[in-house]
């Protein structure tokens, strides 16, 4: 076999595989998740949830493979959110650290880097392209395959894949919450010192921190029959009012939707709560079991929070 024939054979094998990879519609979400962590951009986005609306100025940069962001509220209290690596901090106007949290899934970084879990629980389809913040964007719809989650509509920048708009709708197509850029500019150079304020994060936070961040070795509960696709992504424990008791917040996610499951020891004289209630876009399900008040909370359907609160066994 001549060299030409060998190359031709190789091409015939590789080309169909390459076209399959290019045709995979889910690749756009992987590209989008990557873009939201790697791109440098500055802009203003508008958010709406329940009756609240607000605008936020955002600067995002990736410097030496470390992600930084600075978000400033343009309405209400002029607090700032500062992201560095895996942590997110809120600082007040005078630079005082108020709180911090793990993970970064603040808009526009809403997509998980591993989209395999999304494939199992959402149906992907493409909508029309439209102009958002003076840029063309492709609509990608993630429709829930069951009644345990809402639907996500994401408009992704046609050129660099950054999510420019997010709309969450329920099963009746009613909007639950949305965020959209009104202006955005890319490829700006940012210096590290605009993100790293002159505050000693560890010292200030240590003084105000009442979380127990130690590893919880004694998980005295079991979880059964959780809704499909939800996995535990975090566990926070807090000391109860100076007593030698802890309450727990378990956080579950399917990659887009989040549910907190609270396990709190109930104090003497406190009436246990049982039932469900909707507050704004948030559903809450409460149950009492064996001296513990169990509450599940999330911007998810009622069925989901009910399933979570019923999933605990002691």
């Amino acid at each position: 076999m001549t060299l030409f024939k060998k190359l031709l054979t190789l091409l015939l094998i590789v080309l169909p595989l390459a076209s399959i990879a290019m045709d995979d519609p889910w690749v756009i979400l992987e590209d989008s998740a990557k873009a939201s962590h790697e791109l440098n951009y500055e802009g203003v986005f508008h958010s709406q949830s329940s009756a609240d609306t607000n605008s936020t100025h955002v600067i995002h940069a990736n410097i030496n493979n470390k992600e930084y962001c600075l978000l400033k509220m343009l309405d209400g209290a002029p607090n700032e959110v500062f992201c560095a690596g895996d942590m997110v901090y809120v600082t007040s106007q005078d630079g005082l650290l108020i709180k911090k949290r793990k993970n970064q899934f603040l808009f526009p970084s809403v997509l998980p880097s591993d989209i395999n879990n999304l494939k199992k629980n959402y149906q992907l389809s493409f909508g029309e392209k439209k102009r958002i913040a003076d840029r063309m964007a492709q609509l990608v719809m993630l429709t829930a395959k069951d009644n345990f989650r809402f639907n996500y509509h994401i408009w992704i920048d046609d050129k660099n894949f950054l999510p420019l708009k997010l709309v969450v709708t329920d099963n009746k197509n009613k909007t639950i919450e949305q965020s959209t850029f009104t202006t955005i500019a890319f490829n700006k150079e940012f210096k590290k010192d605009i993100f790293e304020k002159n505050i000693n994060l560890s010292t200030i936070y240590a003084n105000k921190n009442k979380f127990v961040e130690n590893y919880v070795s004694n998980k005295f509960w079991n979880l059964k029959d959780l809704p499909s696709g939800f996995r535990e992504v975090d566990l926070i424990s807090r000391r109860v009012g100076g007593l030698n008791l802890l309450d727990y917040q378990l956080i579950f996610s399917d990659g887009l939707a989040y549910v907190s499951l609270f396990i709190r020891p109930i104090s003497m004289g406190t009436e246990p709560k049982e039932g469900t209630v909707t507050i704004g876009a948030t559903n809450i399900s409460a149950r009492y079991q064996d001296g513990y008040q169990i509450m599940s909370v999330g911007v998810v359907p009622t069925e989901t929070v009910n399933t979570f609160s019923g999933a605990i066994e002691f």
């Binding site: 899934f105 809403v110 907190s260």
Partner: protein, 152 residues
């Protein structure tokens, strides 16, 4: 007459008709008995405890006692295990069925009333719970910034 008694418990008749009905109650035992039954139904619907467990059991037992007892009413057929039920037991079974329906209706009312309390008020949920959830999970930074620190 039963319609009037029903209206009495629904507060749908005037004072004059109430007087007439009560005077008939004193004269006619049938009316007295109907009034008693409607009173029980009315109380059950208003979720009053009208059928204490022991009292109900006693009533069932007393009705059963009054029924003629058919000894050997159920006999085994010679060639098979099929049970043959004597016709004389039907009144007993009928009475039992009626009582079971009445009792289950009373208990169902209680079950349903418990399920309606499954709807909580907004005030039943500590705000710190909602704040703690949004502070840890919201992709809308407004939630994250504005909620008070759950650890405070």
């Amino acid at each position: 007459m039963n319609e009037k008694i029903s209206s009495l418990f629904d507060s749908e008749i005037n004072n004059k008709e109430v007087d007439t009905l009560l005077s008939k109650k004193n004269k006619m035992s049938g009316v007295r008995s109907s009034l008693s039954e409607y009173q029980m139904i009315s109380d059950a619907l208003k979720k009053k405890t009208v059928l204490p467990k022991n009292n109900l059991t006693d009533k069932i037992m007393s009705v059963i006692d009054k029924e003629p007892t058919q000894m050997g009413g159920i006999v085994k057929a010679n060639s098979s295990n099929t049970a043959v039920v004597s016709f004389e037991i039907w009144p007993v079974l009928g009475s039992l069925a009626v009582l079971v329906v009445i009792a289950s209706t009373a208990f169902n009312i209680e079950v349903n009333s418990a399920s309606t309390s499954q709807f909580l008020a907004k005030e039943d949920i500590p705000q710190e719970i909602i704040n703690a959830h949004h502070a840890a999970t919201a992709n809308n930074m407004n939630y994250f910034i504005q909620v008070s620190d759950p650890a405070k």
